[in-house]
């Protein structure tokens, strides 16, 4: 027994002298101090890692069977659903995972906005997050086209046409992206390559940067105060606790809770009443028949509503792009002396509520035809969405804030 233990320690020593595995884990898990008051909202980071792992693993399995050709793409998905053992499970895990990714990421962004997690010194953490969000959008869009259903095809067409609105080079650019004068198998194969290799590589590299940035500045917390300002003699934050074991056990519990909800959707409502898997996409792509309503999948719906709210296509595309890019400027737009919404004034509270409300209403409007009252509403809500950001330097400066405590209470 003792001999065996000696051998094990021999192996681990051998490895650690050559590759500092232990040191890495001690540094990033045990000696990584996280604020002791991280609440429910802080679970969404780890949930997004779980979903990413799910997408990668199920994606690898699906790519083994899926065929990216115009003639076979749709049929190969049906082949996975029907004839590949547990293929239906893999496909539903992947399709449910795609929507879950956005739910989790939207809530993760909301958490950061609520507690001011983008404020100094976390600007780069926030910026890597913004880039991750855009990369995720590219990943999900290229993935949505792959089943080659009606909505995949026509969705791809609408997005490709957006590039055509760029003055001067638009049409040439569209043809260059499509590799053809129309949406065809060439685009499908390109999107397959992007979806399974190019974009995931960038995504994973960005996730690593995001985590490196997080571990360098440490987590913010609901109070929005810096735990590193109050340390003991050994330099450990007084209000920090070791990430491992405290947050590892808490996160395991939370992940299981998340997986229960995920499994419920996956096994009982994988289409989620037409939101996660849209009815129109159960029809093979047909370039000759335009669907009555072309609408993107739910997580792009808000941005789609903004695109349609502007009468001119070029400006519409610009507004839609700005709606995402504006997030990058938030660290410099927020002029408040405090970070967390708990201590900010009424202006910030109203603005954050308006932001959530306008984004949700736009999400609904994106699923409706852009006519009459709906169109007017979409225009008002687009204005409200941008006003929440653009007026930030004003309302965060003039509102009266409460002074946050020096230490985390309780």
């Amino acid at each position: 027994m003792s001999q065996r233990r000696a051998e094990t320690s021999g192996i681990s020593d051998w490895i650690n002298q050559r590759l500092p595995v232990n040191q890495f884990f001690i540094r990033h898990l045990v000696n990584y101090f996280a604020p002791k008051n991280l609440n429910f909202w802080y679970f969404f980071g780890v949930f997004s890692l779980v979903v990413l792992a799910n997408q990668v693993l199920t994606g690898i399995a699906l790519a083994m069977v899926y065929t990216p050709t115009g003639a076979e793409a749709f049929a190969s998905v049906e082949h996975i659903m029907r004839h590949v053992p547990y293929g239906w499970l893999l496909r539903y895990m992947h399709s449910t995972g795609a929507s879950a990714f956005f739910i989790v990421i939207y809530l993760h962004i909301y958490r950061a906005l609520m507690y001011g997690s983008y404020r100094m010194p976390r600007e780069l953490l926030w910026l890597t997050g913004c880039v991750l969000f855009m990369v995720l959008m590219a990943e999900s869009f290229t993935g949505y086209v792959l089943p080659w259903g009606q909505m995949s095809f026509w969705g791809a067409k609408v997005i490709a046409e957006l590039f055509g609105t760029i003055p001067g080079i638009g049409t040439t650019l569209v043809h260059w992206i499509q590799g053809d004068y129309v949406i065809s198998e060439v685009l499908l194969k390109r999107f397959f390559a992007f979806h399974v290799i190019a974009v995931p590589l960038i995504l994973i590299a960005m996730v690593m940067l995001h985590i490196v940035a997080l571990h360098s500045v440490g987590s913010n917390n609901p109070e929005g105060i810096e735990i590193k300002d109050q340390c003991d003699r050994r330099g450990r934050p007084l209000d920090g606790i070791q990430f491992h074991p405290y947050y590892t056990v808490k996160d395991i519990m939370a992940v299981l809770g998340f997986l229960i909800v995920f499994a419920w959707v996956l096994f009982y409502v994988p289409e989620f009443w037409g939101l996660f898997l849209e009815p129109a996409n159960f029809q093979p792509a047909n370039p000759l028949v335009t669907p009555a309503h072309i609408q993107p999948v739910w997580y792009f719906s808000s941005f789609f509503a903004m695109l349609r709210a502007v009468p001119d296509k070029s400006y519409g595309a610009l507004v839609m792009l700005s709606a995402v890019v504006i997030l990058c400027f938030v660290p410099w737009l927020d002029r408040s002396p405090v970070r967390s919404i708990r201590y900010k004034g009424i202006g910030s509270k109203i603005a954050l509520s308006c932001l959530v409300l306008s984004f949700s209403i736009l999400g609904f409007l994106g699923t409706q035809p852009a006519v009459g009252g709906y169109l007017i509403m979409a225009r008002i809500m687009t204005g409200v969405y941008f006003a929440c950001f653009l007026a930030m330097p004003i309302y965060t400066r003039i509102e009266s804030c409460r002074t946050p405590p020096k230490r985390i209470q309780g």
């Binding site: 499970l89 056990v249 519990m253 229960i260 096994f267 009982y268 009443w273």
Partner: protein, 235 residues
């Protein structure tokens, strides 16, 4: 929270219903809640083999016990030439319930009415001017439109909640060869069969789901206890 959740689900369902029957003059009927069983699926499959399979294929549905027992097998399905029927061949129905929904398909067969202006002698409320004749005319009988075509186009523009059910604007002209209630059961079985064809592993999916969730729940309780033990150390 529960109220919010219920409201959310009903809005989502309502949106989808509006989406699917936008341009139709009638609202969709809910399919009767018949419990699906192997016998019912086979019976629905037989109806499909007798009345639908002359024209429609189920190309993604290959050999399986229910298909074999009902005679819905790949060798007997028609080979559809996409150029035939003036470029409008009878669509493949493998995924019709996933695309249209079961209520749409159920209502579809109650939406035929006699119309002398059409080459087939009949017209349709959900898909106006369809070139497909009613395959169940003999079993079901024939219906007559009780309102004018102009009134029909007025109804098409109304919001979904104000549209009438089919039986408010159609009346029976000739009764079918079997009683209406029996036809309704047979039709429901056909829709159940096509729902099965749309996703043959659905029953397996729902059965496995229970076990997975149960496993996760047990694991969750263990993880919760572990969490509580560790966090006690902080007090």
């Amino acid at each position: 929270m529960r109220k919010f959740f219920k409201a959310f689900i009903s809005i989502v369902i309502a949106l989808n219903v509006i989406e699917l029957c936008d341009a139709a003059p009638i609202r969709l009927e809910s399919m009767p809640q018949l419990k699906s069983s192997q016998a019912r699926l086979i019976s629905g499959g037989r109806l499909f083999a007798q009345h639908c399979m002359q024209c429609h294929s189920l190309q993604y549905f290959t050999h399986d016990p229910i298909g074999d027992a009902s005679g819905v097998v790949p060798d007997r399905m028609p080979k559809i030439d996409p150029e035939a029927w003036s470029g409008h061949p009878p669509p493949d129905l493998s995924l019709i319930t996933r695309y249209r929904g079961t209520d749409w398909l159920y209502t579809y067969f109650y939406s035929y009415y006699q119309d002398a202006s059409r080459p087939t002698g009949s017209n349709h409320l959900l898909t106006a001017n369809t070139s497909m004749p009613n395959p169940f005319e003999q079993l079901q009988g024939t219906h007559q439109l009780m309102i004018s075509k102009d009134q029909l186009s007025v109804l098409e523009k109304q919001p979904a909640s104000q549209k009438p059910p089919w039986y408010r604007i159609l009346k029976t002209m000739h009764a079918g060869s079997i009683p209406a209630a029996e036809f309704d059961t047979q039709l429901t079985e056909l829709v159940l069969f096509l729902e099965y064809v749309g996703e043959p592993h659905r029953a397996a999916r729902e059965a496995l789901g229970g076990w997975v969730i149960m496993f996760l729940l047990i694991f969750f309780v263990v993880a919760f206890l572990l969490y509580r033990e560790y966090w006690k150390m902080l007090d």
